[in-house]
């Protein structure tokens, strides 16, 4: 049996940065999994760009609950993937996962996304969400870049990229 779940790269920020980027991703795996835990200097959206593409080539459908109800919405013509409207917290780490399917394949790239933004606030300014995102491009993904809409991602934030390989 092949060993199929491998860490490709991991970063923990030693200083604040506007992005965490993993580049030169080999096409050796079937799927990619990106796990992020962190905070940022502003409550901007968590964003993910692929292959440095910042064009309006992304779309998503999001389902979330905030303690008072369940909601859904979709977005087309986005310039990045994003998991929810909550955005980064400046103080409490949020866990976000992106599962990117067939990242080296020939179809458009689809990701299943989760975000856990518990803020211990007792109001609607916290969310748990699941979503599906699309990048309208058939190119193999060779880089992923996590951002905060121009704000800095805070020191201590961690991102890890895994590869999952089918036999």
């Amino acid at each position: 049996m092949a060993t199929t779940y491998e860490k490709i790269a991991s970063t923990t920020l030693g200083s604040a940065s506007s992005a965490i980027t993993f580049s030169s991703i080999a096409s050796s795996w079937t799927d990619l999994r990106l796990v992020i835990i962190g905070t940022a200097a502003a409550a901007n959206y968590v964003t993910l760009n692929l292959n440095s593409d910042t064009g309006a080539n992304y779309s998503q459908t999001i389902l979330y609950g905030n303690g008072t109800g369940a909601y859904t919405f979709n977005q087309t013509g986005d310039t990045y993937m994003w998991p929810n409207t909550l955005g980064w917290s400046t103080t409490i780490p949020q866990l976000i996962t992106f599962d990117l399917f067939s990242y080296a394949g020939s179809t458009y790239k689809t990701a299943l996304v989760t975000a856990s933004g518990e803020r211990n606030l007792g109001n609607a300014n916290q969310q748990v969400s699941t979503s599906v995102s699309l990048w309208q491009n058939t190119a193999a993904i060779t880089s992923v870049s996590i951002g905060a809409q121009g704000a800095n991602i805070s020191i201590g934030s961690t991102a890890t990229l895994y590869g999952i390989k089918a036999a």
């Binding site: 049996m1 092949a2 060993t3 199929t4 779940y5 491998e6 860490k7 079937t30 799927d31 999994r33 796990v35 779309s59 998503q60 459908t61 999001i62 389902l63 109800g69 369940a70 909601y71 859904t72 919405f73 979709n74 087309t76 866990l95 996962t97 599962d99 399917f101 067939s102 179809t107 458009y108 689809t110 990701a111 299943l112 996304v113 989760t114 856990s116 699941t130 979503s131 599906v132 995102s133 699309l134 309208q136 058939t138 890890t160 895994y162 999952i164 390989k165 089918a166 036999a167």
Partner: protein
């Protein structure tokens, strides 16, 4: 350990590097509506299936395949799911083992010509079958599925679902079927993984 903790909190059951193994893969043929994984060894703690799928049907952007275990189509399954299509968030399901399969809600794209860019779009899904080799427990299934069509209407879905297989038999085979008369296209790929405990 880190991987295990992260996995338990997110969309799939991750594991340390040495305990997540590829068991088998399958690809759609365009002429069959069933994908079967059989002779699954009982040497793992959990199973995970990751797939992207499309049917040959053309009327809708999304369709709902189903999963059955051990070839059983008896009324021993139950299911619940939470789904959103960009317009309506809804929950659905039944509380008693009364269905003959577990729906994977909109986990299969359709080849709908009228939806822009549909030719390059696949639905994706991650299924976890917990403690599948137990001979004393009923089996719990969890899935996370999505289809994003880049369309402002209600033709995209994201779903989190759970299912019950009310049998204590170890799971040694599973079938994923289109359940709609269509076939899986040749772009459909399925991968079965085993996770050690």
């Amino acid at each position: 350990m880190l991987n295990t903790v992260l996995g338990s909190l997110s969309s799939g059951v991750a594991a340390s590097t040495s305990s997540y193994e590829s068991i088998a893969t399958a690809t759609g043929t365009g002429s069959s509506g069933t994908i079967t994984f059989s002779s699954i060894p009982s040497t793992y703690k959990h199973l995970q299936i990751r797939f992207m799928a499309k049917t040959t049907l053309t009327a809708s952007a999304g369709y709902t395949p189903v999963i059955t275990l051990n070839g059983s189509s008896s009324s021993i399954y139950a299911e619940h799911f939470l789904t959103g299509d960009g317009s309506t968030a809804q929950a659905s399901g039944g509380s008693s083992p009364s269905t003959t399969s577990i729906q994977l809600w909109r986990a299969m794209a359709g080849s709908k010509a009228s939806t822009p860019t549909m030719s390059n779009i696949m639905a994706v899904c991650i299924i976890d079958i917990l403690d599948y080799a137990s001979t004393t427990k009923n089996k719990t299934v969890r899935y996370f599925a999505g289809l994003e069509c880049n369309y402002a209407g209600t033709e995209s879905w994201v779903t989190l679902g759970s299912g019950l297989y009310a049998a204590t038999t170890a799971v040694s085979s599973l079938d994923i079927t289109t359940n709609s008369g269509g076939n899986f296209t040749t772009a459909s790929t399925f991968a079965l993984y085993g996770i050690k405990g």
